[in-house]
Symmetry: C2
Subunit: 149 residues, 2 copies
């Protein structure tokens, strides 16, 4: 099944390198907005409704302190609000502001631009096949973002 004769030709290696590259390019585009790629999953999740911080952490697969940091940054941009949960005063429900929704819309635009640049040399069918393959691998690896744990 795998017939490469050098490590640098394997999917394992290529995916790692390309992932880093795609991320850096995407980060460059996001920079003027004051965001980095990691914020996107948070904005995306919150677009579906308010969530507690630990919920966010589990859903996007990072540790709690990282979420605190990201939310501090998003709050400074007026993109989110922390609202103390009346029913359980330990929890904060995080909700997207109008500015946050606008920001999310712009990140999507930039991600699409980035996709176009990244996939420019592929035909439409090849690009679609790549997207499907990545989706299936991500699913099998348990990397889901929009859904509950």
């Amino acid at each position: 099944m795998a017939s490469e004769d050098s490590v640098t030709e394997t999917v394992s290696f290529l995916l790692g390198k390309l992932g880093q590259h795609a991320n850096t390019r995407f980060a460059d585009r996001l920079a003027p907005l004051g965001l980095r790629p990691r914020h996107c999953a948070v904005l995306e999740l919150l677009a579906g409704g308010p969530r507690a911080q630990l919920e966010l952490a589990r859903a996007i697969g990072v540790t709690a302190s990282v979420v605190v940091d990201m939310l501090d940054e998003l709050e400074r941009l007026d993109a989110v609000r922390r609202v103390r949960d009346a029913a359980d005063r330990r929890r904060q429900l995080i909700e997207l502001t109008a500015a946050g929704r606008d920001l999310r819309r712009r990140t999507l635009e930039l991600a699409r631009q980035n996709d176009d640049e990244l996939l420019g040399m592929l035909g439409e069918a090849e690009a679609a096949a790549l997207r499907r393959a990545l989706d299936r691998i991500a699913g099998a690896a348990g990397l889901t973002f929009g859904e509950a744990p």
Copy 2:
């Protein structure tokens, strides 16, 4: 061409996340050998013959001090030798030892195992298509490893 309605569905975002995941899994497999994914490109390049350190740096796209660090580690494993170039005494020619060649062979085995795990749920045709697409994107992005700059 790009019709996703959330950032987390774009190739830009997915590739970044999957790249990180693939890299971590590969790193886990390499750990018992005392290596990390970044060493693989060096071993691969040196398999083609001795190289100077700055040549390596340019070829694999990292800064000079990173190469120094990686070679220190590889030297501790007796995988490479630094040989002062007689013609230009500033340069060190890095050559693979027998142990280094053996190590390289084993990294290839592990990378193939990792590919099999990663691509397990894909059909053979889909896996091949993915490989081709990644190759083309890497080529267009100027991410080449086996060849001279």
